[in-house]
Symmetry: C2
Subunit: 421 residues, 2 copies
């Protein structure tokens, strides 16, 4: 049994036309008019496929295909909102591949033992309403609906009002129904599979994330008339810290990553010693203990450089998520299913956040990755080879079917042929 | 003989009222309406003092007091334009103290042997028309009048048109008359005299200035999904270079200074590896050879970090001035004159540019510094103790008189009492 690749690819193209931007990308910010149009299209496809569609109080849409027995569904899904310069596949692939799984089963006239469900979660990107992964967070019970409704967007709109405005303030309660298991197909958004020439990633978990904003306050001084010994250079403290982050990450070694993506000086003039520097530090690791140790070493360095430069420093935590480990049985099942198609799946952690990490709080969860050419994402140039998109959908199909058929989630890796029946 | 300190201080206050901004500062951008009003006031005072006022083709104003014999004047001066957040003394002090010298001689009924002149030069700050020190540059023959007239301001106006508009497109030719000698009184704009508790600086020269803009171009990548080994982080290259500038300056030691005052990342987001980083490097030294060596070491570092990070780099020269050494006889005369008032003058280089460096191209030149409290300048909080302002004017008075009386510029330091007669 295989998905209809042409149908999947056509639907990806059709959805990408809504909010299309130059270069082949999409802008469908959460709960915008474009998001509504995208939602309406996908919901129409879901209904056309005979699925039972529910909308919950945070706007998550779940479409269920009945099983032979009642009970918790085997769920898949992702999101269809995008960043302002989004690509055609980020999120959309997981949703439309899930829908394609249902269509494929419809075409085959098969009913799985357990129900199957495909969902799309509200505001995964967090580009309009913070935090990101909001819909799945609320679905999993990590935030109350009222709190979420009161979130104000970057354009000043209240989330609850925007949900009502676009017609997606639904009646289904949150937290949502706990699935039997959850599997999300997603583009990698990184370069690992593409560089290695591999087609399928069996995602082991999500890196823990530490985001901090550091603000150094020194003294604006004339770059010519102020001897070095009299300076309190906030810009130097920031640059030295950015250089330290690289050394720290090198010392720890993979999978530790660290990034100073934002660094702003004030007054930012060629001949004025910076009075203020604001920078961010993004540290990620799959190991919480290592991540905490990295944060400690960074804090020590910041103290030292601030003291020696005679500047003050304040630290603001922008985000902190502990690493998430996916269910070993789901990881093994993805691997075995891929092997059934002749793909040697690569185990790798996800470097970005995904709805699956919220679902992992309530049920066995996992993810399937397909390659991102050049690792490019959040960019109109985001691309995945069509055959890899279809391969990912086929792995999703057979992983979901296996989960829906077995009494229990398989305890051990299956032999290669076990993934297909 | 002493200047009338009250008259000088009152005139500084009166001039500061034109273009006054909150906090006690001034905004008289070159050739603006405020600059015209300031010019008109000072020209009125010059005429009231019986001086012969000329305006040249670049708007420089020179007021001459006849001597006993004709010939080149002993000249002093500075500028009365300011930056947008200027103080009350930067430039203004040198002009109004020069005027006060003339008034003092008028009051005493004395005529010096050589003529004396006080000038103010157009657009010293360069805040509206680049480059800075423009009027004195043209006066000294370093730029043609037509070229200067065609310079376009930050607000889109042509310099020649603005000169005509405010009535300061004068008939006197450029280059201007070569003075016998030139002495400029100025606030230090740095912290050295203030910290040392000294009143008078005998300025030895002007630091050479090297301004470069470096642009690193790497690749925008996701901060979570991109392993460190695959990154081309323009922001890291910039931060590493900023940290290197500090090491370089420390290695060389005083008077070398170095500043990274501007550093801009793109897209400047917490979770995106910077695709582009633009930064400036300001290097200054009194020794041209050392400055060149510093530039070479910086270029080597930039090459290395760009290569190891896999980013491209381009370098744009924003400014380059060789160090200027003032005339040793003028330096010694300032020192001796200060000693005559009981001040142990400190020899120090100027860290910022001044009109005196342009005049130094054509005649023996020097400068007198008075302290800037806290080294603050280009800021409404710029401040110099009134008694220091007056002390500087007295040193200027006796330095000018001595230069105007002697047949030749004195060849050697004078004994302390020699500065006064």
């Amino acid at each position: 049994m295989r998905v209809d690749g042409d149908r999947l690819l056509q639907r990806l193209r059709d959805l990408a036309e809504i909010g299309a931007i130059p270069g082949g990308g999409c802008a469908r910010l959460a709960l915008s008019d474009e998001d509504r149009a995208g939602r309406d299209l996908v919901v129409m496809w879901m209904r056309d496929a005979g699925l039972e569609v529910t909308v919950d109080a945070i706007g998550n849409v779940v479409a269920t295909r009945k099983g032979q027995v009642p009970g918790p569904a085997v769920m898949c899904g992702s999101h269809i909102d995008t960043v302002a310069t989004g690509g055609a596949y980020d999120g959309n692939l997981g949703v439309l591949a899930g829908l394609e799984v249902m269509e494929t089963l419809n075409d085959a006239g098969l009913t799985t033992r357990r129900p199957l469900a495909v969902g799309f979660f509200t505001d995964e990107e967090g580009a309009r309403f913070a935090p990101d992964m909001l819909g799945s967070l609320v679905y999993a019970g990590g935030m109350g609906v009222e709190t979420a409704h009161d979130i104000i967007s970057i354009d000043g709109a209240r989330l609850g009002d925007e949900l009502a405005r676009i017609g997606y303030l639904g009646p289904a309660p949150c937290p949502g129904l706990v699935p039997h298991a959850y599997v999300e197909l997603h583009i990698e958004q990184g370069p690992v599979l593409d560089r290695a020439g591999e087609v399928i990633g069996a995602v082991t978990g999500i890196q823990g994330i530490s985001w901090q904003e550091l603000t150094f306050e020194g003294q604006a001084n004339h770059a010519g008339t102020t001897p070095m010994a009299y300076r309190h250079d906030a810009g130097y403290a920031a640059a030295a810290t950015a250089a330290f982050v690289r050394r720290l990450v090198s010392d720890i070694g993979p999978p530790q990553v660290g990034t100073v993506g934002r660094l702003d000086l004030h007054p930012d003039l060629v001949n004025v010693v910076a009075a203020r520097a604001t920078m961010t530090v993004d540290l990620r690791n799959t190991d919480e203990q290592v991540l905490q140790a990295a944060e400690k070493r960074l804090a020590q360095h910041v103290e030292e450089v601030a003291r020696s430069e005679g500047v003050s420093v304040s630290t603001r935590r922008l985000a902190r998520f502990e690493p998430v480990e996916f269910d070993p049985r789901v990881i093994a099942l993805v691997e075995a299913t891929a092997a059934g198609f002749g793909y040697q799946a690569r185990r790798l952690p996800a470097g970005a956040g995904h709805d699956a990490q919220m679902l992992a709080r309530v049920c066995p969860a996992g993810m399937v990755f397909v390659p991102s050419v050049g690792g490019v994402s959040h960019n109109p140039a985001e691309h995945t080879d069509p055959e890899h998109l279809v391969a990912g959908a086929n792995v999703l199909l057979h992983t979901l079917v296996r989960l829906a058929e077995e009494d229990r989630i398989p305890q051990a890796p299956l032999p290669p042929e076990g993934g297909l029946r």
